[in-house]
Symmetry: C2
Subunit: 691 residues, 2 copies
């Protein structure tokens, strides 16, 4: 009998539909581990076969002892059936997830947690289990250093073309491990070129972008103990992270000769953009339903989901929120007035709109963002008469695939921007950094002239096998194609005219130089197009300073490999330190999407660099050893948001009087470089470098 190892908890993620008594963590050629659960832990389906199953599966594998504890009743947690889809947008599901998280959080030690998790695992809906168990591991003091495995490896069906699974089963059954070749997924599988929205599929359906979105919502749950929900500035981060996704999407649209996304403002108009996901939900054994062209949002009345909502109610909520923005105050549940302050108003509004349990008055301001997702996710079956589950908009793991996601979030963002429009404009003093001048900004991609970004298609391989249940073991790789850019460096020269060394925050943004009509932007419009590329602290000695920064160091992104880290955490040789805190790092914009696609002829961009005064930026905390790779989009685990400024600063507000374009906006501590994004329509093999 091996002794208790908290890493064993992670094995429970693997093969989510295979019962606990089936070996986990097995590679071809060895026999893995089985959880030796008390007979009473077996589900009703398998208890009668108890001994038979233990012999069948347990014989050769290493046993992980599971202590018998007294199990609290699961009650309503079982109201989400094993074969349902799970949605964080549904209050019922969030509430149930909150209950399960509470149970996992309440276990006295990891041994009890393992026991409880073993008991729950084969009874509870597998998505729900994964979510609640992940949140608990992330937040428990005794497990927070464990690395929750990548969701895409456990539920690959939410991320890749359904066609691949039959091929993967064939490969696993027919071809011996070692002779298997990666299964190539076509880049365009959800639509053809006839559909202009398809030009954005590489972005909407990107594995990393969708994983980021899933992780973000894992890190920022909507329900549960207040301590878990009330992360520093979460409402504001909801605003900012989604604003940046829209800005990036619009940038990509311009690269593809499409206009900026139209916000979904009129809820009674047919929605012209359709979406056919071609994804299966393996747990539900159903395909994700399609959203066909020209459907209208409809009133929802689904007893099974405990949701009943008129489309008009969405409008009422949004009108109340707009009223609050006009007044500059919101009303809490006790009828008290809360000011929407210059700095924290956006946080309050983010909480109201998202909405989480942090909303000061959910009854009055409602559940706008979530319920918009729900209405759109059920557009094909609003009253459950067809017994249909939700479309991709109902699942944070898949929502970004649908064009309507961006139309909906553009609408949400527009409301929040109306609040931003009421705020005092930044004065020159609030923007400038006295004595600091950015003298030069350059971008260098190897082999190119200055200020050129190079983008192209790249293939990458991911092993699906840990998420494919009831089949032959051994790795099965798929090969998919995603946008990539050549790594580059910034070279920034800053003069410090002050008599002392100064600290500054270097903020780097990128926007298209021209709008969809080819005209230069007004600042009011361009400010919404700036995408954050990086943000970091610099030390400026007196006089000239030149520093370089690699694109891979971005605090917006995480490295691609991290999202597909190996699950084999209990293997001899696995370096636990390396694996630490990967879970939080799973949140973060994918590095390969840092730079928009550009165009074959070269897309003109404006690279904006600013050095702000660290005295006004700094947050006093120690983040050494904490994964802080993608702090801009995700915050830092259990810490304050690492920048005291309003998120999106300096572009989060309307400009001061007299500023009509970017040049007029600049203070000496800012500089703009004209850059070009060159796209090469060629697909590079995995790890093959752009030449």
């Amino acid at each position: 009998m091996s002794k208790h190892n908290p890493q064993d908890l992670l094995l429970l993620f693997e093969h989510p539909q295979e019962p606990v008594f089936v070996p986990k963590g097995d590679k071809a050629g060895d026999n893995g581990f089985v959880f030796a659960v008390p007979d009473t832990y077996l589900s009703d389906q398998y208890r009668p076969l108890g001994a038979l199953l233990t012999t069948r599966f347990g014989e050769d594998a290493e046993q992980i002892p599971v202590k018998k504890i007294s199990i609290p009743p699961l009650g309503e947690i079982l109201d989400i059936k094993r074969d349902e889809n799970f949605s964080l947008f549904l209050e019922k599901h969030r509430h149930i997830a909150g209950k399960l998280i509470e149970i996992f959080m309440g276990m006295r030690n990891t041994q009890d947690l393992l026991s409880m998790a073993c008991y729950c695992r084969d009874r509870v809906n597998p998505y729900l289990f994964n979510y609640a168990f992940s949140v608990a591991l992330l937040n428990r003091k005794d497990t927070k250093n464990l690395s929750v495995p990548s969701f895409a490896r456990l539920f690959p069906d939410k991320y890749v073309d359904s066609k691949v699974f039959t091929r993967a089963r064939e490969e696993a059954k027919i071809v011996p491990d070692g002779s298997r070749a990666p299964l190539v997924i076509p880049k365009d599988f959800t639509a053809s070129e006839r559909e202009e929205e398809q030009r954005l599929s590489y972005f909407r359906e990107d594995l990393g972008a969708n994983l980021h979105h899933w992780h973000w919502h894992l890190v920022y749950p909507l329900n549960g103990e207040r301590a878990i929900v009330a992360k520093n500035r979460r409402g504001e981060l909801f605003y900012y992270m989604h604003q940046q996704i829209i800005a990036r999407y619009n940038f990509e649209r311009l690269c593809n000769k499409l206009k900026r996304v139209e916000r979904l403002e009129d809820f009674n108009q047919p929605i012209k953009e359709a979406y056919f996901p071609k994804l299966d939900s393996v747990v539900a054994s159903r395909a994700y339903p399609a959203r066909v062209a020209n459907q209208k949002m409809q009133n929802i009345d689904r007893a099974v989901d405990r949701v009943r909502l008129d489309v008009d109610e969405l409008k009422r909520w949004s009108n109340r929120i707009l009223d609050a923005i006009q007044k500059g105050t919101v009303m809490n549940e006790k009828g008290q007035t809360i000011e929407l302050g210059e700095n924290d108003g956006i946080d309050t509004l983010g909480n109201i709109i998202e909405s989480s349990v942090l909303s000061p008055n959910r009854n009055y301001y409602g559940d706008l963002h979530n319920m918009g997702h729900v209405v759109l996710a059920y557009i094909h079956d609003p009253d459950h008469r067809y017994l249909e589950t939700f479309g991709v908009m109902g699942d944070v793991a898949t929502a970004m695939r649908d064009p309507v996601f961006y139309r909906w979030h553009a609408y949400i963002d527009d409301i929040l921007q109306q609040h931003k429009a009421t705020l005092p404009r930044y004065t020159i003093d609030q923007l400038n950094y006295s004595g600091i001048t950015v003298k030069d900004v350059k971008v260098q991609s190897q082999g190119s002239s200055s200020n050129v970004f190079n983008t192209f298609w790249q293939q990458s391989d991911v092993d699906l096998s840990r998420g494919m249940d009831f089949q032959e073991k051994g790795a099965v790789f798929i090969r998919f194609t995603h946008l990539q850019h050549q790594p580059f460096t910034y070279k920034i020269t800053v003069n410090n005219a002050n008599p002392t060394t100064k600290l500054g925050t270097c903020r780097i943004f990128l926007a298209p130089k021209f709008d969809e009509g080819g005209s230069t932007w007004s600042f009011r419009n361009q400010r919404l197009m700036f995408i954050e590329l990086d943000k970091f602290t610099v030390t400026l000695k007196q006089g000239a300073n030149t520093f370089t920064r690699a694109s891979t160091e971005s605090t917006v992104t995480i490295p691609f490999e991290r999202t597909f880290r190996d699950l084999d955490t209990r293997r001899p040789g696995a370096n636990t330190a390396e694996l630490d805190q990967f879970n939080f790092c799973g949140c973060g914009w994918p590095q390969h999407l840092l730079i928009p696609k550009g165009t074959a002829e070269g897309m003109a961009g404006e690279l904006f660099v600013m050095i702000s005064n660290y005295d006004d930026d700094k947050v006093d905390q120690n983040i050494d050893g904490v994964c802080s790779d993608a702090g801009s989009f995700c915050g830092i685990k259990d810490k304050l948001y690492p920048d005291r400024r309003s998120m999106g600063y300096p572009f989060d507000r309307l400009p001061r009087e007299g500023v009509n374009n970017l040049q007029q906006f600049l203070t000496p501590n800012m500089r703009v470089a004209n850059v070009t994004i060159n796209f090469k329509d060629k697909t590079f093999k995995p790890k093959e470098a752009f030449v």
Copy 2:
């Protein structure tokens, strides 16, 4: 080495996606058979692994030698990709199927056929292979006695709720053969009671009804050598079989308090009835697309399917056909006029409308029935912009599931009825049988008073495992629920006042006694509601004759078990004689749907019995030993249709002058019994009898 056995051909049907070198026909505990194909026969994917695979899979199984022959190029046959769906409604697919059938038909002997089939099997689309190979086996002289296995066992995904497949994989992997319990499929899985069309789901989604429809189209291919297509009276049978399906559907609708189906006559109106099939296509690794509520038919332009068609074209075709009906003549391709004769006009029109290669002028009259299916099947993606495959209406194996199937076929039937309305009415002489009087008609169900039919729900089990590929072996049963009736007998008393023994054809029909408003029918309407229950020859000696006939003897139906006959045709002990000719018998209305559902309170019906003059009915041929179970709906293999009368006689035409209701229609050789159909809303276990 075993010697060549034509039964080996049947093993090629099994596990349609597993390559030929994987054992077939294996049961738990034995090792099955593998086809020892020449290395050059392996597909490109597996040729490099040749020796490895032979060792891996071939070692323990019995080898079936496959002779190396010279292989003709497959050419355009490969234009239907392995992972596409296959549709007989698409001209491109029919054409390709015709080519493949031709190749299979042209093989000199069964050994060459086996070799060719082995070569094709892992290259050609699996549905296409199954179809073309089935048609060839049915029509080749040296294979026509082989029993083509049930399509539902090979492609269960086309017949049962997709949810069951994950459970089946779990069962196969976790539970040892012998301890497995059937997986129960809920009766209602495609919609809830909110959707009134759901009341008919037991009929639309019935496994036997859909298998019948598949088999019918297998027996009556649209393309191929003329000898295969030009079966006796096939155009008329197209009309009659579908007319009877509509009549049965309307009967069931009345049982469920719904009005008769509305024909889909206006092609520009939104179609209010939606359908969400919840079926997967395993070969395409895609779910069957849904047809959401209120979509309109749209112009089709899909290069991939080589089809481009405006909805208006459908109307033009149908107007030309209606013109022809008005004129009483059609024009062939040479511009010659062909009369629509009293007896054979319907056959010509059936061929024109269906349409098969027998249509005298496909250019002019078009492809109405097939293209209606196509337009409806692609309603969600008419121009292939979303890279979607067709909905259930695109596949003869699944089309009957969709409510719009009945709306479309009601439209088709209405056109054909307009032709029937032009025909001379049957005179009393054409209806009567001089000297013959039906004195009494009784129906007896055990334990009930006379003239009562008892219906209820029954469960049945089917083994899916032969159609589930790349997983553990051994039987996996599903248990589904279907309508059933208690077996009953007719007792019919006939007086023969003639001085000699006479032969007669006893024709038994059933119709609801009242229309949806509760009124008695006009004959013009009721005649379209009569469903055929049985038809058989009787010998009438002078004077009184009483004969009984069991419901199970019906010439409309086939026994339920036959549709799920075992595939293990090469097992020791398998009785080849018993298995003979099952293929053709796969066509036939399912016995368990012989009697409509009725109602809990008892639905009033009129049972019509007629003895017609055999001299006018008889067809001189020997059908001994030929499967002729369901001749009324399917004809008899390689024989003439077994009734010389117009199909549907005596209800296929408008009544003679003065006949306004059924009573007025009767001649002495006819009789009507008032019957009641009692439905008991209880589900009986497999093989459990109604008490």
